[in-house]
């Protein structure tokens, strides 16, 4: 009887506010350093929330990309650069037949250009009432102002195909979009492809960049963002009593996921195993998480079952931990339901406390942090943890990193819209 197939991480590529390589990224998280600051990308003086954890343009631009990425937007280039770094980290090439290798990527919708789209609205409105807008004029404006290749540029689904083309891969390619759960979902889907035999290698991850005029506005309109503009480093404070919303982040994290026997056979360096994935939907309300954490508990339980372990085996949780009142409270409830009496003894930390919420990319970045936790047996802290909230009373590894024994770890992501996703990662022994 053949051994079941397993999926392991053999390469990591990062373009994040905490750094564009594994060592810098991990050092930043372990040192508990906030990467938030005033937004520099554009003039944010008109916004109530003016802070974010931005990716440095210099870091994004240092990775040479093939000509197909010229003229692509930031989102596409984040994804491509992270993929390039992941492949390099995995040894510089994809080590299996091209038709056995694929791409599973979660991408945001920030593929559109502010100037292009807003300019197209010129002259179309006769008042500030939507009913008075002349849609014919909007159509004419778009016909005039959309630059060539708009369809390819605007369609998120073009990005995984282009990344596959960079490496001559001809296996499965897929673009997923489940908002803040996307990065976790894409890695889970990639692991399923490998474990079910659809692929031997998958480039998987997530990319997003909502630090744009309308991106920032849309989160401000939802009241979701912290307004601690005078102290950006202290603004993202998941589970803390003084939290007032999340800090926007951006970036990309891409991993090379390989079938385990195949990776061992070629002597690849293995960070950790992606052992299980679980997904669910609250099916409750549009933004309010279920007060009992139902969707979250379902996702975590399924991921644990898929991994073949039990909740008692989990030694660390990388939380969704956005620093909103609603999420952190609901996630705490969900973790207590999952772990029962053991909940107080399971360290839980939030990467978002340091790099903010990179939306679609978050789950992928956090999967990387979880893998590094397993590799090094150290959990990074949840920083800015100063004042206990009676409703959030778990061990959030406040402020200082900690050595710990962890063989199985859980990484959570919960989306606007109610999708929930969780990964279980397992320490690679040997």
């Amino acid at each position: 009887m053949t051994e079941p197939r397993r999926a392991v991480i053999t390469g990591i590529g990062l373009v994040t506010a905490a750094g564009g390589d594994v060592a810098s990224f991990w050092r930043t998280l372990l040192d508990g350093r906030s990467c938030a600051g005033p937004i520099r990308r554009f003039d944010v003086s008109g916004y109530p929330s003016r802070i974010a954890a931005e990716v440095s343009d210099a870091d994004l631009d240092r990775t040479p990309l093939p000509p197909r990425w010229d003229g692509c937007g930031r989102l596409a280039r984040l994804a491509a650069a992270a993929a390039a770094r992941a492949v390099e980290d995995a040894g510089g090439a994809i080590a299996c037949a091209p038709d056995r290798a694929g791409v599973s990527l979660a991408t945001g919708i920030s593929t559109w250009d502010h100037a292009e789209v807003i300019h197209a609205c010129t002259g179309a409105a006769r008042s500030r009432r939507e009913e008075d807008v002349d849609l014919r004029a909007v159509a004419e404006g778009l016909r005039r102002d959309l630059r060539p290749d708009a369809r390819a540029r605007l369609t998120p689904g073009s990005i995984p195909v282009a990344i596959a083309a960079d490496y001559g891969l001809t296996g499965p390619a897929m673009s997923v979009m489940t908002a803040c759960a996307g990065g976790t979902q894409a890695i889970g889907d990639a692991a399923r492809w490998i474990r079910s035999g659809r692929a031997d290698t998958v480039i998987a991850g997530g990319a997003d960049c909502e630090i744009t005029p309308m991106g920032l506005a849309s989160f401000c309109l939802l009241g979701a963002l912290s307004r601690r503009n005078d102290d950006p480093a202290a603004a993202s404070r998941p589970f803390d009593a003084g939290r007032d919303g999340f800090v926007l982040g951006e970036g990309a994290a891409v991993i090379v996921l390989e079938e385990r026997a195949h990776a061992l056979a070629r002597g690849a360096r293995i960070y950790a195993e992606v052992a299980g994935f679980g997904g669910a939907a609250d099916a409750y309300r549009v933004t309010d998480p279920h007060p009992d954490g139902t969707g979250a508990v379902l996702a975590m339980t399924r991921a644990i079952a898929d991994a073949g372990c039990t909740p008692d085996d989990i030694g660390y949780v990388n939380a969704h931990g956005t620093s909103t009142l609603a999420n952190d409270r609901a996630e705490t409830i969900a973790l207590k339901r999952l772990f029962g009496g053991r909940a107080m003894r399971v360290p839980v930390s939030s990467t978002k406390s340091m790099i903010g919420h990179a939306t679609v990319a978050a789950g992928a970045i956090e999967a990387v942090a979880t893998a590094l936790t397993l590799r090094d047996q150290i959990v990074h802290p949840t920083i800015n943890h100063d004042t206990r909230d009676p409703e959030c009373d778990l061990d959030y590894v406040p402020n200082v990193r900690r050595r710990t024994q962890v063989r199985w770890a859980l990484s959570n992501s919960f989306a606007f819209g109610g999708q929930t996703a969780a990964l279980v990662l397992r320490q690679h022994a040997g």
């Binding site: 009241g223 309300r285 549009v286 933004t287 309010d288 609603a326």
Partner: protein
């Protein structure tokens, strides 16, 4: 019970109805938007936007009961809640057997409290809509 402030009430009922996809005539002036009419957090954001657009005003965040209730414990909250209790016997006060805490205040928002807030801001009670 007479409906307060005629036309303003009708306009507010229409707006609340559009926000919650309910017919105005099916909503009592003292129905809690949250507990009786199923409002969730984004509905309050939506409601404030619609009120701002309809009346040409700016409503500071989550402020739509101010004028009826002060929000600080020891700073007027208890007195204003007591006064509200006496003039709104149609509200489900039985849901709040103990003292009202600050985080309970959104549950007190009704069409009536919204109307009182807008009237306190000087919006016309009568006149063409």
């Amino acid at each position: 019970m007479t409906q307060p402030r005629g036309d303003l009430h009708a306009r507010v009922a229409t707006i609340v109805g559009e926000t919650l996809d309910r017919h105005p005539s099916g909503m009592h002036a003292d129905s809690s938007l949250i507990d009786d009419l199923g409002a969730e957090s984004i509905d309050f954001l939506d409601l404030v936007f619609r009120i701002e657009s309809a009346f040409g005003i700016k409503v500071p965040e989550q402020d739509i009961w101010r004028g009826s209730i002060r929000t600080e414990p020891g700073g007027g909250l208890e007195e204003d809640v007591a006064a509200l209790r006496t003039r709104t016997p149609g509200f489900r006060w039985d849901r709040f057997p103990g003292p009202i805490a600050k985080q309970d205040l959104p549950r007190l928002i009704t069409i009536r409290t919204i109307v009182e807030y807008l009237a306190a801001r000087g919006l016309p009670a009568e006149g063409p809509s």
